[in-house]
Symmetry: none
């Protein structure tokens, strides 16, 4: 059986594609010259499954999406107190490039605005690291989040340095307040290189999934940063990640997120998935226009809002076996627990093993205690595809989980015996 999720993603891309509003970032030729039609969406689960659609493997520069990850590295390298002493965690309500320092201390308000990100640059690696060491720590740390070796686009990096006046302004201001204690130009260079790390939408989804998975990369199983660091970073992404549109995003989309002027946009739903989109045309806040549309769609379709009532997302499929019966092979999937999007995704994946010659498919819901609307919709879509292919589908539902649900051509029974016949 072909998976539903790639189809869903392809459909989502198809729907946002006509929107050609906004334009690529203009401030350096390398970004201004980006192909504005590039479009991708990738979803990575916390157990390492990756679904992509569109230009998922096109490389672009990570830009500000590096901020939460480098912040996580700094928290890991120097500890909470050292970093908090230099950079706050309050939303600024201002654009990404506002100076926004605390009046009394000179601390940048948060690490998602440039002033904060520049300060974080100086807090990477062991105390007193050389700029080159720090640069390598950043590249290697971002690679660990992505689960593969990332490289730097030197052309973008040097091109951005030529127009880095505002960042230099901010860095000198930080230096004048003793928030930075080293050469401002060196810090800006480090930051510009950090922004020029080349990633694909696939990489970004995996980086986000690493955050969603308590800091453990789902592919390499490397614990990149601790769970405590991740919790902190996700909170800051939620309140500050989308700059002056943070409140709109928090209410409408509800996923800790971060965008970059390169056209990337990521979201990390704790315990469930990492998501990334790529489309270079930006709105007036500097966020990818189609990216924002895609996330609004994902949040609504998949119930991925952190303020949505949570439920579990692992071991939903208790067993997945084929039994030979009188009327041929019967596939039995025993499900359990509370099922939301991520759980449904796992079921879909298991369902892919179903062969066309298996005459009957049984979903045993006896141990399922909740099934949200999205999971229900996905389950019924599996059913539809199977019954369209002339396979029989049975739900074992002694608790009436499916009550009031139109199950189409499927059959609902009370006991497993009634289904496997």
């Amino acid at each position: 059986m072909r998976s539903i999720i790639p189809d869903y993603l392809a459909d989502a891309l198809f729907r946002v594609e006509p929107d050609t509003s906004g334009q690529p970032a203009q401030y350096i030729p390398e970004l201004a010259g980006a192909d504005p039609e590039r479009l991708a969406a990738v979803v990575a689960t916390i157990d390492g499954e990756v679904y992509g659609a569109g230009d998922s493997d096109a490389e672009f520069t990570i830009q500000s999406i590096s901020k939460p990850f480098v912040y996580a590295l700094a928290l890991a390298d120097r500890g909470f107190d050292t970093v908090l002493d230099k950079v706050g965690v309050e939303p600024s309500g201002e654009a990404f490039n506002e100076v926004s320092l605390e009046h009394d201390t000179g601390r940048p308000l948060n690490p998602m605005i440039n002033a904060g990100a520049l300060t974080v640059q100086s807090l990477i690696g062991p105390w007193n690291s050389e700029p080159a060491e720090r640069g390598e720590r950043v590249r290697q740390g971002l690679s660990a989040f992505a689960g593969r070796e990332l490289t730097i686009d030197e052309r973008v990096s040097s091109s951005e340095m030529d127009t880095a006046h505002r960042n230099l302004a901010i860095a000198h201001m930080l230096r004048s307040r003793d928030v930075l204690t080293e050469d401002p130009r060196t810090v800006v260079e480090g930051y510009v290189r950090q922004c020029a790390v080349l990633v694909t939408a696939r990489d970004l989804a995996m980086m986000a999934a690493t955050l969603a998975n308590r800091g453990v990369n789902p592919l390499t199983n490397e614990q990149v940063v601790s769970g405590a660091v991740v919790r902190y970073v996700l909170s800051v992404m939620f309140t500050c990640g989308m700059y002056d549109a943070a409140g709109d995003w928090a209410t409408q989309v509800g996923i800790p997120a971060k965008s970059g002027v390169g056209g990337g946009l990521i979201g990390a739903l704790p315990g469930q998935v990492g998501i990334a989109t790529f489309s270079p045309r930006l709105d007036e806040h500097g966020h990818s226009v189609r990216g924002v549309s895609l996330f609004e769609r994902f949040s609504s379709d998949m119930g991925l809002h952190v303020m949505e009532i949570p439920s579990a997302a692992s071991s939903v499929v208790r067993s997945n076996q084929v039994q030979d019966g009188e009327r041929g092979a019967t596939r039995v999937l025993r499900l359990q627990g509370g099922i939301r999007f991520a759980g449904a995704e796992r079921i879909i994946r298991d369902a892919e093993e179903i062969e066309v010659d298996e005459a009957r498919v049984v979903f045993d819901l006896s141990l399922v205690y909740s099934l949200d609307a999205v999971a229900r919709r996905l389950l019924l879509e599996i059913t539809r595809r199977l019954t369209d292919g002339d396979q029989e589908v049975y739900f074992v539902d002694p608790q009436g989980i499916l009550a009031h649900t139109d199950v189409g051509a499927a059959v609902v029974v009370d006991e497993l015996e009634g289904a496997v016949g």
Copy 2:
């Protein structure tokens, strides 16, 4: 068996009690004269269980804690578009009484600051409601959240009106920008009455639990507002509820919350619990000093951070039966799903039914697929109390959920048969 949670709460109060920093709100005599030693903490689950410690039933005025609830009522009464057209959802990074209007539109930045709350006051009830109708709608709506009839402290209300200059200033400013279209004084009077609604910490916990329970009051089962409204309100509480300390709160505590100058503080953890504390001494942000301490403790002890990986919180106890065996009565609790704080609380409650003459207690973990640290700690505490009372405790743990856990005097077996003997 006596429940663990009241003990936990009493201990928490004991620990914060020595902190006498801060002082009650001074701007009206009725608040300034509050007994500063009053102290309470209440936890209400989404299925209606309430645990209280301290002065849980002492009445005080709700003050700003009314804001998210009245905002929810306005969203319900007038719809998202009408309300958003008048009040934004962006964090202001400013104190509660700053004017903070959007420069171009005059919209208050969010409904948690006074400018927003005053505007929300004018959006209650059907279009063109009379002030008295609106006032009754507010009182009745807040009562529905609390699950009992609330009343208004008329003395506080008229006393606050005498010193409402700043709110009058804000209301006249809103009127001059046509955000308010009616008499500013009437709006302020409505708001002052809303703030003077009398509540107990128990009421507040139940109101918060109603938010945590998708808008359904756990006691009355009334759907006070829709789940969509709740999701919106929780998001705004998370990003704006603690004013200029919102970012610190989001990272450290991570619970959508709201404080009032009367000394109350609430938190609503979606799908799990509502929490309320009461202690009149305030810090420089206007938040209850001990309340903040208590919440930091709760968040850390109970793993109640929204960016903590979520899991389910219902039907954790699949069955709870007594079997008569050779060696006397045996209590069998069959557990299931992912168990976090709220699930463990449910187990504790079931465990209270255990009689001292039941010689053996069996916890069947066969269907449990996760058990977080807090749940584990609570389960072992039940065990300790039972074995201290000379009851035998068995864990059926075929999946090794308890591996590496010191279970004390309890016995771990692989199959239920081995436990019930």
Copy 3:
């Protein structure tokens, strides 16, 4: 011979008349309905000559032009310290209706913005005056500046009160900061009445001329406020009178000025003239469009810029000669012109040439037409030093310039002959 100045004024009106840009203030019907074609310019000299052109006698409401005059009355009634304690004198760089309070004290930044003018309203008359007394003091004080009884347009006054939300907002804010200590609505009512005083361009020119004439009304010769108050008020008009266009005005026009939304605009050139224009169409700063054009023209055509270098003071000593007379050598210094500090310094320098054996020193003041306090002091100090050295000092003072001055051991005579004997 027909006078040149009326021709000049008529020509100036003719040149600005085609400019129909801007529009009358819209916020109350009475102002919005003003005839936008009304146009007048009046120049009043400090000795009471008045030249008018256009609608010089059309009545309109004074509006914000009342601010410097009522500020002057408050300084006169309550003293500098009391008033400065409540209202600052710093330019705000903001529009007239911004709140602009000092962060720490709550003081309005200056008395030309509404926040300041409202506060000044509460500082009129004796301490603890009744509102009605204050209102009469304002009307009578403005009348004294104008040199005739002014009345209030009650229709405009009550109409403005209906839309005074922003001023009420500001007044309540001031009340909440204890800058105002009485009922905010009463203060706003007083201010709105102050703004509704009916004046003509002729009145305004005379009011400005009173400022230009050290506070003495040129027609009635009444000393309305002291010279010290006038100096203060003119300084504040220069730095703050034109709100956020104050700097442009100070450089381009260079005349202490104030505009009102009724279409009036005044300028007071110290020691020379008062000027007023009237034309209701306003620019985006709230200043009369044609009024600003007229003032730019006047400043340039008439050399009326306070930073224009005044006439040289080098020829104050017309001659310095020694004559041999019967009683020995006599030094004669013939002085001329208006003598201030720099002129007195020149006299001192010449006086250094006086030898001790010159028995008599004569200062001939016949051609001196003014001698300010500093110059007078310095001249008497020279006299003292000379008479202490036993030299005789004579003043020739046919015009009585030294009347009421204690000249010590010197002799005052009417004619040079009487001095050189």
Copy 4:
């Protein structure tokens, strides 16, 4: 006779000497190490007399006192439009080192704050000047104002560059807004060198006197900048020169002024004197503590406030008589003093008495010692009207006040006898 003024200055220094509050600027060692007891006051008249007391010849760095002079040079070199296009003239109400750019254009609010002064640095000399040329233009221009060759303290200059982070921040910000179009570091270096020009209090007083004298250095008689430029610069000094204390200064002292962190403070009273003080201890606004005290004293003692009403102009017409002569009636107006607009108006008024049958009109200018451009124009207009009416007009002008003036059909003679014939 010994002069009074040095005694006065010495006494003034004696009175402020006990005030040891404040401290020298700390941000660079060279300033922090200044001898805090250094104290000087110098008054320079516009005809070149210089009175000094204290350490009048001690050298220190000019710092921000260079701003108005370099601004004057830029206006002279590039014209008003070019400079105004880049730097505004509005008071900022903020400290000297605030960024204070206009939100929409990025223009610094005024040339007295650092953002403005940095921008002015880039507007010196011909378009596209090399940094070295600009540096030399600044040094030479400041020297021209001082009337002697000034040099640069290279040690202070390089020391300041080490701590110029805030200025670099501002310059990069200006570069990012395209207000600066060249390398920000080069501009800051130029500015830092400008600030490191070595001056004495005597130099500063002479520089201020050059401003007070329409741009002509009283010693060298060099016209350094035009009178129009001076008028502009003095206005900006008055409204913006003392930063966030500008309003207090304007009201209390009333002299266009500028201070520097090196301890210098200058004031220029148009048409009278230039004043400078030197004392390194600074107040919280960055102004010399004793310098401010001295200026308050000078302003009050010497009547040096620009809003002080200048000497009356009422006696400009000394007499107005008709004499019968051989050739019919002759009208004789004897004029006196310095005549500006208001004086000319008085003459016009007297001239209205002239009857058409008075064959000859004589204006006796013997006692007039100055006649400004406007007064000259008005006098000639009277003449034109009279001669057009076939009346003869004579000017008695023994001092050559009308030299180089086209008097039309009028006759200029040396003595009254020649006119009344």
